[in-house]
């Protein structure tokens, strides 16, 4: 085992594999920055180039590219409020709010440092999980996956504002999200739901145009109305030393970062949950760390913990997603599905063999994730403070560029004008939600979990009838969901009793 671990590292550090990895990092860097152009599409486009490569080189190239995308995607999210990737949207809530307060550097520093921690945790999990991976993954059947989706939906309680009114709005927004997730043809009876005879709506709503609309459009309108730069008239002194401060934040809230990394890894391991889920659960968990009512209200207005959580989770999930891919030949995410094609091209058959005969290759993947993330984060830090200055550029110079990016970004998901209409529609919805004080996070959570919850509930009932409710892990998850729902109440009571003591 230790031998294979070292051999894996040496394989990655061979000059050819290393050079391919650098190339991959370079491509992934830009793909992550540009909104809409996703890591999944790019992986598919790059796949033909690995025909002529050795397995280790091929994976260094593909994984190097892939593991960087979520890291640099955070940068776009923080600076402009546009999701650089579908999987980095949660970073916007607090990251972009920080940028508007003139703390872009700090937010970027925090996003990158937490990404690195997340990647390392994910890679460590991949390495540690190798002996126990099969029973671990097999323990989670459809009933368990359904319950994980329910636990996720329960996080709406934490993502909503405090008090009865805030909760009501949060759960209503979540409900609308669940409803929007039902658009398209249903997989049980083949009935078209909310498609209004439009072919575009048949396959459901694409996440990327929806996320771009709901998050980026309100920010652009806000920028136009204010007529200033993103950071407004904030004192400029703080921008330059910000990045280091963000790194310190990561260590100040180190356990939170680790916990969110573990959430990301776990969601990554579970096939069928998808990459968009991890960041939101981590964000929900981060808001639970608020110690007072004022702190809780600070989330969404630029609390660094709201950056650390999703920043860590969206990187750690990649290590997690590799686990089922390698061990079963069953991809843990859509990007892993394409990577699986890479396995065949390189002459490897994913499955139990990868944990025995080809163990060194498996470990070389772990090392690629580690090394690629370290390189990216170090390189990014060199010009992070310069990037942060973009938030001082006047709005009318930035807005045209941002508009072009979000239009292209949305359009690239299906190459269909419907993508643009979808983006604008949800842009309008997003603006109304912000203006009316409705939280957007529960809506998105409902949207990303809706289909998962529906399908796995159907499968559980069809397969086990009511018996699935008595499975031990399901019971544990039901308890967890209730705990997550009640947590804001407990939190509020604790805060109250503490303030009484102080008085």
């Amino acid at each position: 085992m230790i031998d294979a671990l070292l051999e894996g590292l040496l394989l990655v550090l061979q000059w050819k594999a290393f050079a391919f990895m650098l190339l991959g990092i370079g491509i992934g860097f830009w793909v992550g920055l540009l909104p809409g152009l996703g890591g999944i599409t790019t992986l598919a486009l790059m796949l033909p180039f690995v025909y002529a490569m050795q397995p280790v080189e091929g994976f260094a190239f593909l994984l190097g590219m892939h593991s960087v995308v979520a890291t640099t995607g955070d940068i776009t999210s923080v600076l402009f409020g546009i999701p650089g990737e579908g999987t980095t949207a949660a970073t916007i809530l607090d990251g972009h709010a920080m940028a508007k307060k003139g703390e872009a550097g700090r937010a970027l520093g925090a996003a990158l440092a937490s990404s690195l921690v997340g990647a390392l945790v994910g890679a460590a999990a991949l390495a540690l999980a190798i002996p126990v991976v099969r029973p671990l993954v097999l323990a989670f059947g459809s009933p368990e996956l359904f319950m994980i989706a329910i636990v996720g939906i329960a996080f709406i309680a934490s993502l909503s504002a405090q008090g009865g009114r805030g909760m009501l709005r949060g759960f209503l927004a979540g409900g609308v999200g669940l409803l929007v997730a039902t658009v398209g043809q249903d997989p049980q009876a083949g009935v078209s739901r909310f498609t209004f005879d439009s072919l575009y709506l048949w396959s459901g709503l694409d996440l990327v145009p929806v996320l771009i609309g709901i998050f980026a459009i309100p920010e652009i309108i806000d920028l136009v109305v204010r007529g200033t730069s993103i950071a407004g008239d904030m004192p400029k002194g703080r921008l330059n030393q910000g990045a280091l401060e963000g790194v310190k934040d990561t260590f100040r809230h180190f356990w939170l970062t680790i916990r969110c990394s573990l959430i990301g890894t776990f969601i990554g391991i579970m096939p069928g949950l998808g990459g968009a889920v991890a960041q939101w659960l981590a964000y929900g968990h981060a808001t639970q760390s608020a110690r007072s009512a004022e702190e809780r209200q600070g989330f969404g207005r630029g609390d660094v913990r709201g950056v650390l959580g999703p920043g860590a989770a969206n990187n750690s999930k990649e290590g997690g997603a590799l686990i089922p891919t390698v061990a079963f030949g069953v991809p843990g995410s859509s990007s892993m599905a394409i990577l699986l094609g890479g396995f065949f091209l390189l002459g490897l058959v994913p499955g139990p063999d990868m944990l025995t005969t080809h163990l060194a290759v498996t470990f070389s993947m772990v090392w690629t994730i580690v090394v690629a993330n370290i390189i990216t984060v170090v390189v990014c830090f060199l010009f992070l403070n310069h990037l942060a200055r973009l938030t001082l550029v006047r709005g009318h110079f930035l807005i045209p560029v941002i508009l072009v990016l979000i239009f292209i970004g949305s359009y690239s998901s299906n190459n269909h004008y419907g993508d643009l209409l979808l983006m604008l529609t949800f842009g309008a919805l997003g603006y109304l939600m912000v203006a009316g004080g409705w939280p957007r996070a529960p809506f998105v959570l409902g949207l990303v979990l809706g289909k998962i919850a529906e399908n796995y509930l159907y499968i559980s009932v069809a397969r086990y009838e009511a018996d699935w409710l008595y499975r031990p892990i399901v019971l544990v998850l039901i308890a967890l969901a209730i705990a997550v729902m009640l947590y804001p109440l407990i939190q509020a009571r604790r805060i109250r009793s503490r303030s009484v003591k102080h008085a």
Partner: protein, 336 residues
């Protein structure tokens, strides 16, 4: 300014080339041919299109660029509508889409704005046979054991319209095999995992996608549809168990498009010589040793079926009597 001139020039060239093209042999020098693929990047249709895009230029006169454009949505009806109604019949746009679109046309799915018999058919690049594969730790060796077992077999499926659902559905409804179809898995890979954890007992799917798991002895195939691929010739065919001619016809109708596993078309009205040139290029490219080596590595089995043969199958499907079509539509729903 200059680019505008070139652009207009290109237009003029196309306009002139159309009538003249019928006389001269088609040349694609300096042109770009676009393969419009009805699915997102990364799937089987896309990978086939991309492998062709790399090797077609060698065999086309004038060595044009060939690129792939993904136009996903509505299970690729959007892409087919585009090639039929928008693309020019100049041979510069090739479409590849869901093989079951002919069934969508047959059952009058709303949104279909094409007539499969009027496309300029290049051909098909592969045949995709559907098999039912059951978990190897179950005591059933073959289809007969299964039928006689008296136990319900749980089948994992993605949803109506996919072969993971439709193939077992007909086995259940028409042959009376005791099956319970559980659908809603997000991909066939997810069903494989459900098989590993014994949540389901079997799944249907294309033989090529199941092969890695068959090789690993996780599952073994017990019955197949009519399309043949090497390795499964000996399996019984579903139609051979059909109790009535009508049941047999319904099964045949479901599997007919599988022979045309990867359809390739051009816009209706494309000049005959362009079609002929393209068919030849496809035929040669699919035998190209480099392409074959790449395809083998990617575990894809490609084989060309020329457009005229494809058209025969398409016409046969579309000329089924109404009672068979109605019967068929009772079970099969076109979908994702």
């Amino acid at each position: 300014m200059k680019s505008k001139l070139v652009f207009m020039g290109a237009f003029a060239a196309v306009a002139v080339a159309l009538p003249v093209g019928a006389v001269q042999s088609a040349s694609f020098e300096g042109k770009t041919i676009t393969i419009v693929c009805g699915f997102k990047a990364g799937g089987g249709y896309d990978r086939t299109a991309r492998i062709l895009a790399r090797h077609l230029p060698k065999y086309l006169p004038g060595n044009p660029n060939v690129i792939v454009q993904n136009m996903p949505g509505a299970n690729s009806i959007i892409a087919a509508n585009h090639v039929y109604n928008v693309a020019k019949p100049d041979g510069l746009t090739i479409g590849t889409f869901n093989r079951n679109l002919v069934l969508a046309q047959l059952t009058n799915v709303s949104g279909v704005k094409f007539d499969q018999t009027k496309f300029a058919w290049v051909g098909s690049a592969a045949s995709e046979s559907t098999v039912l594969a059951i978990r190897s730790d179950l005591p059933y060796k073959n289809f007969d054991d299964l039928k006689k077992s008296g136990k319900t077999l749980v089948i994992g499926a993605t949803g109506p319209g996919a072969n993971t659902y439709d193939f077992p559905l007909l086995l259940k409804e028409l042959l009376g095999v005791d099956l319970k179809i559980v659908s809603g898995y997000s991909s066939s890979a997810d069903i494989m995992l459900a098989i590993e954890r014994k949540e389901v007992d079997a799944r249907a799917g294309s033989y090529s996608s199941l092969r890695p798991f068959i090789d690993r002895k996780l599952v073994h195939p017990v019955i197949r549809a009519r399309a043949i691929e090497s390795g499964i010739e000996q399996l019984p065919v579903d139609e051979s168990f059909a109790p009535t001619p009508r049941a047999r016809a319904v099964m045949a109708l479901r599997s007919a498009p599988e022979v045309v596993g990867r359809p390739y078309v051009m816009a209706p009205g494309t000049p005959d010589d362009v079609v002929k040139t393209m068919r030849e290029a496809f035929s040669k490219a699919l035998k190209d040793p480099e392409l074959v080596a790449e395809a083998t590595k990617a575990k894809m089995e490609l084989e060309f079926m020329p457009g005229d043969e494809v058209l025969k199958i398409v016409k046969e499907v579309l000329s089924q009597p109404k009672d068979i079509v109605d019967e068929f539509a009772k079970y099969i729903k076109f979908g994702e």
